[in-house]
């Protein structure tokens, strides 16, 4: 697999592993992200993983592109790990309340399924966080069960409520804030994907494996109260693999 180094000015460059959306390519991105993090290369400020490329941000006052590029090529040549330690994260989701899932009926109709089958397919999907962006904490989570693939809504909603769970194309996402959005809303989680009161304000991280867990409205309300009050024990949702 050929690697390309693309300039992003004099403070960053992008290491591109391919031009496709695939777990293999994204796995290489995440592996280099981890490898650079561990190598603690002088002058590297941060690295930004996306679906098929890793952006390496550097300080031109302490290092240079000419110095960094061979170092990173060296890391890649020495072999990136194929199996990365990752977290398994459970996300409680309520699909039952029509207010939470305004598009469930339409998704069911367009995918020729019963609404319960749509929910079952979402619950059965093996999701992985590919990239965070667009808004702080907004995760693009790939791995949607293929029978649910739909393009985005032609007319985006002006207001999507916070914590809405939505699908579009081969992905699912959770809105960290109330915001505009063009994805299909099929449920809502009581969790906040961005909570600035927490020491780690952003819950999901690139590379996380995600599974949704169905809760009814009562269960949703119970967790929502704890999240709201800052009493929720987020560690119960995470397992290391």
């Amino acid at each position: 697999m050929s690697v390309r180094y693309l300039s992003c000015g004099d403070t960053a460059f992008s290491v591109e592993f391919g031009n496709e959306i695939s777990p293999t390519v994204n796995g290489r991105v995440m592996a280099l992200h981890a490898a650079i993090g561990q190598a603690k290369i002088a002058g590297v400020v941060e690295t930004v993983p996306s679906i098929r490329a890793l952006m390496v941000c550097y300080d031109p006052l302490t290092t240079s592109r000419a110095k960094l590029e061979p170092e990173i090529a060296g890391l890649i040549a020495r072999g990136l790990p194929t199996e990365l330690a990752s977290r398994r994260v459970a996300i409680p989701c309520c699909y039952d309340d029509p207010e939470f899932a305004p598009d469930l009926g339409e998704v069911a109709e367009r995918t020729k399924k019963k609404p319960e089958a749509v929910i079952a397919a979402h619950l059965a999907s093996a999701f992985k966080v590919y990239v965070l962006g667009f808004m702080p904490g907004l995760a693009y989570i790939a791995g949607l069960e293929p029978s649910l693939y739909l393009p985005r809504r032609p007319q985006p909603r002006v207001r999507v409520p916070r914590s809405s769970v939505a699908i579009a194309m081969d992905m699912t996402t959770i809105y960290p804030f109330e915001s505009p959005g063009g994805w299909h809303l099929i449920g809502r989680t009581p969790l906040w994907m961005f909570d600035q009161r927490r020491e780690q304000p952003v819950f999901l991280a690139p590379g996380d494996q995600v599974a949704f867990q169905r809760v009814d409205r009562k269960g949703f309300d119970r967790i929502a109260r704890e999240v709201e009050a800052g009493r929720f024990d987020w560690a119960t949702l995470v397992r290391k693999t």
């Binding site: 693309l6 300039s7 992003c8 000015g9 004099d10 403070t11 960053a12 460059f13 992008s14 591109e16 031009n19 496709e20 959306i21 992200h33 400020v45 941060e46 690295t47 930004v48 993983p49 996306s50 679906i51 098929r52 490329a53 890793l54 952006m55 941000c57 031109p60 006052l61 240079s64 592109r65 000419a66 990239v131 965070l132 962006g133 667009f134 808004m135 702080p136 904490g137 907004l138 995760a139 693009y140 804030f177 961005f194 600035q196 304000p201 952003v202 991280a205 690139p206």
Partner: protein
């Protein structure tokens, strides 16, 4: 007793900014930070602060600030139409930019308009006593984080100061205005210059582009000749560095600045050299620029040279005479003191 600057009248878009919230782009968190890193650094240095201390970034028109501390040293940097200092018991005085000033309790600093540029900075000695968010005091208003309550300043806000009073010291001023450079804005091709036709690249590098009204901390939309794509405007989303110039389907360039999102799906023809980013942060709607491609190594050299000039400018600060007072350092330096110092009573 409070030690604070209180906003008695808000400006248009004033936020606290330091040099940015670095290290969290992987979580989708924009860096934010000062639009004009040079001016903030100079303002901080005039107050005796380290460069990464948060100061007030003034957009278009600044606030009126009431001093509620025994004393506070401030420095204004940027093209402000002179600010005005009002006191209950004295006529108003003008407050020059590009120097530090010692303010006393009860005085009101009317920061006023920024002229000829979009941003100016007010630094205070010791900085503001506010909690950092993810390691930084930079305001990112879209997510409501950082700075003062995650937003632009409003009337009634009380900005707590880290120091109860200003350290005793003479005031300082900039020897000469910092040279930001003129001529074209230097850019580095890429990351997706191969998504454009030869004609498209020539248009971009050979045409005048005008700053539109859609210019803010997130980015600047330019008007001018449309840039031709060869492989389309859409890419698989990837990271957006500071100064990235994305060209959506309509063919007009958008330069992405401090509050830019961390990843995006439009092809990026080039990226502004970091030495010229402060110039972007100063542009006003209607101003016209050209873009000039340079190699990465040259852009790095430009940045290092700029840093050297910035450090020299700080080393070359001159003593500034306080209004109506006596500047001892200047007298000693000029070797004028022999016996009697006579200061007329105003």
């Amino acid at each position: 007793m409070t030690t604070a600057l209180t906003v008695v009248r808000a400006g248009l878009f004033d936020t606290l900014q330091d040099l940015g919230r670095l290290g969290f782009m992987a979580l989708g968190m924009p860096t934010a930070g000062a639009m004009d890193r040079v001016a903030l650094t100079l303002a901080n240095a005039l107050c005796g602060n380290p460069p990464n201390t948060a100061g007030l970034e003034i957009g278009v028109m600044g606030p009126d600030l009431l001093v509620e501390a025994d004393s506070v040293r401030v420095a204004l940097v940027g093209p402000l139409a002179p600010a005005i200092l009002e006191a209950p018991d004295a006529p108003p005085t003008l407050v020059d930019s590009d120097r530090s000033h010692l303010l006393k309790r009860g005085q009101v600093l009317r920061v006023g308009m920024v002229e000829g540029s979009s941003t100016a900075y007010v630094a205070v000695a010791g900085g503001f006593d506010l909690p950092r968010f993810m390691g930084s005091l930079s305001t990112y208003a879209r997510a409501g984080v950082g700075g003062f309550d995650g937003r632009k300043l409003a009337a009634g806000d009380v900005l707590p100061l880290a120091l109860a009073q200003a350290p005793v010291r003479d005031e300082r001023k900039l020897g000469q205005p910092f040279d930001y450079g003129s001529g074209p804005i230097r850019v580095v091709w890429g990351p997706q210059d191969d998504y454009f036709s030869d004609k498209g690249r020539r248009t971009f590098a050979g045409s005048d582009y005008r700053v539109s009204k859609e210019a803010d901390r997130m980015g600047i939309r330019f008007e001018g000749p449309t840039i031709e794509h060869s492989k389309g405007a859409d890419i698989i989303s990837d990271g957006i560095g500071p100064g990235a110039i994305q060209v959506p389907g309509a063919g007009l360039p958008i330069v992405l600045l401090a509050d830019r999102q961390t990843v995006g799906g439009y092809s990026k023809i080039a990226t502004v050299a970091s030495a010229d980013l402060p110039r972007l942060g100063r542009l006003l709607p209607g101003q016209v620029v050209r873009f000039q491609p340079v190699a990465v190594a040259e852009a790095e050299t430009l940045r290092r040279d700029q840093e050297t000039r910035l450090l020299r400018a700080i080393a070359d600060f001159k003593p500034a005479r306080p209004p109506g007072g006596i500047d001892l350092a200047q007298l000693y330096e000029a070797n004028l003191i022999d016996g009697v110092v006579y200061q007329p009573v105003p």
